[in-house]
């Protein structure tokens, strides 16, 4: 009974953490889907989102939801700006040039942020700490409820946008075949820009939520979650939206179980062990079809 309780508790912790990975992984996978770029700067966008949320709360005096919205919009615009300045001029360049540029953008954002907000970690104000629901010894705290609730809302919203709206259809068309999408009258540059906007906005929300969950943010906080969200996206099948969500949740749960039952030292190792395993056993990911590269 004791053990079962612990397992369930770790599952809840894992799903909370996994939701965060899923939010970041969605941006990774959307951007990869449309321009075949592993956007290594994505984790740093998430960090910027956390800082904007932090300043909105501490300096602006906003409560959580408005702070989330401010961060979501501002960071979304930042993502679009990065795409416009750094990636769009390379649209016809070899993929490796864009990849290297993404790494450059990543460093640029990290160290520019350090200059402006200092490398010292900031402490997020305590929020929802006193709210908690306990069912049979299993505790779900307020922060976890916030994470799960907001993630669920965003995923429903994203699914609606991608499946039902005209822009969503254009996004799917452009990520399947950009050239043919152009022939339909779809401005692929605009769609790519929107994709960066949405992906970055989701990462921003993840950033703020992590700030609230772990209380501490710093300019290099995006590196590890960025890598892990990448693992999550690959695990689910890169380019596939439900894959990113499932990949993120699996990763979160595995990490929680490993830190709960083995040792938190091996938490990160578990994530990368999963990556190696996926690449060995099922390189296209859980949801991926083992098809050839599109020509």
């Amino acid at each position: 009974m004791e053990l079962l309780q612990q397992v369930v508790q770790q599952l809840i912790n894992g799903i909370s953490l996994g939701s965060i990975y899923a939010l970041i992984a969605l941006g990774y996978t959307m951007i990869y889907g449309i321009i075949k770029l592993i956007n290594f700067a994505h984790g740093d966008i998430y960090m910027v989102g956390a800082y904007i949320g932090f300043f909105a709360i501490t300096q602006g005096g906003f409560s959580v939801v408005p702070a989330l919205l401010i961060s979501l919009v501002t960071t979304g615009l930042l993502g679009m700006l990065v795409e416009r300045i750094a990636y769009r001029p390379l649209r016809k360049a070899p993929r490796i040039s864009v990849l290297i540029t993404a790494i450059g953008v990543s460093f640029f954002i990290e160290y520019t942020s350090m200059y402006f907000v200092s490398p010292t970690p900031r402490t997020f104000p305590q929020m929802f700490g006193d709210v908690a629901v306990s069912i049979g010894g299993i505790v779900i705290n307020g922060q976890q409820m916030l994470i799960l609730g907001i993630t669920a809302v965003l995923m429903v919203l994203l699914t609606y946008i991608v499946q039902k709206t005209k822009t969503g259809k254009a996004m799917r068309a452009a990520s399947f075949d950009t050239e043919t999408a152009e022939l339909m009258g779809i401005n692929s540059d605009r769609i790519i820009s929107i994709t960066f906007g949405i992906g970055s906005a989701l990462a921003a929300v993840a950033g703020v939520l992590v700030g609230i969950y772990y209380n501490s943010i710093d300019p290099l906080m995006g590196i590890m979650p960025g890598l892990k969200a990448f693992v999550a996206a690959v695990l689910g099948g890169i380019g596939i939206l439900p894959g990113a969500v499932v990949g993120g949740l699996i990763l979160g749960v595995v990490e929680a179980l490993v830190s709960g039952f083995v040792s938190s030292t091996f938490r990160d190792a578990a994530a990368f062990a999963i990556l190696i395993l996926v690449l060995l056993v099922r390189p296209a990911g859980l949801f991926g079809k083992n098809t050839k590269e599109k020509v």
Binding site: K169, R172, N187
Partner: protein, 243 residues
């Protein structure tokens, strides 16, 4: 047939040079399409037929020369803007959105339009023309047969209500009976008022429905004339019609 009208042609390509990286794919190609015609561009694989269509639709930009459509220079215009001018292309290999439904493919064809009623009407028109698409409207496009995919690609292109329809190898990979059906539909579409520029390797079929034709050889137009003349010419018969 194209009478020698004094009117300006609907599409006038004049001396275009197009490069694919370092490859000089089109060398001073000129051709015209008059309103209401079916014009075909025939030639061997790699002669530059698709390149010509891709230049018209804006996927490629010419280094030199002009592309005039309804009096407007559209050379180098972005592909997504060319559609709004009234040109729609059915690309080589159909290029349907395989992971989307037949309906969604058709909706994407009407992407530039905002007139819901008109779109609805045209969708009905497409389903009348291609009844098999109606049966499969909620199916993923990737599950359709080759012939059905060709029909979908054509239906999708018609959804933008083009004045000029560019068709790139509609017969590719299809059984003879199906090719006949597709070509009859092309004639129907033309009769309903859409001008057609048809690129084909199946010169026989193409010449049988076209008003005029051009022969493209390694990036240059080598012959042109009425489809009947070309079908009768020894040169064309030997090179493209199998004797």
């Amino acid at each position: 047939m194209a009478d020698a009208k004094k009117k300006e042609p609907m599409l006038a390509i004049d001396g275009i040079d197009v490069f694919y990286g370092a490859i000089h794919a089109l060398k001073g190609v000129s051709l015209t399409v008059n309103e209401g015609e079916i014009v075909t561009l025939i030639g061997a694989n790699g002669a530059g037929k698709s390149t010509t269509l891709r230049t018209i639709s804006g996927l490629l930009a010419p280094k030199k020369g002009s592309v005039r459509f309804l009096g407007k220079d559209i050379a180098g215009m972005k592909a997504h803007k060319v559609v709004a001018e009234g040109i729609s292309q059915v690309p080589e290999g159909r290029r349907i959105f395989a992971e989307m439904t037949v309906m969604e493919n058709l909706d994407l064809g009407a992407f530039i339009r905002k007139d819901r009623d008109g779109i609805e009407k045209d969708r009905k028109m497409v389903f009348e023309r291609f009844p098999r698409l109606l049966e499969r409207k909620d199916q993923l496009a990737g599950t359709l047969s080759g012939g059905e995919q060709q029909m979908l690609a054509m239906g999708r292109a018609l959804m933008s209500r083009p004045k000029l329809l560019l068709l790139d190898e509609p017969s590719m990979g299809l059984a003879p009976l199906l090719i006949r059906e597709i070509f009859e539909i092309i004639q129907d579409i033309n009769r309903a008022g859409t001008t057609v520029l048809l690129v084909e390797q199946n010169a026989n079929m193409a010449l049988s429905i076209a008003n005029r034709a051009y022969v493209l050889e390694t990036g240059r137009i080598t012959l042109s004339g009425s489809a009947k003349e070309l079908a009768a010419s020894d040169e064309v018969r030997k090179a493209y019609l199998g004797g």
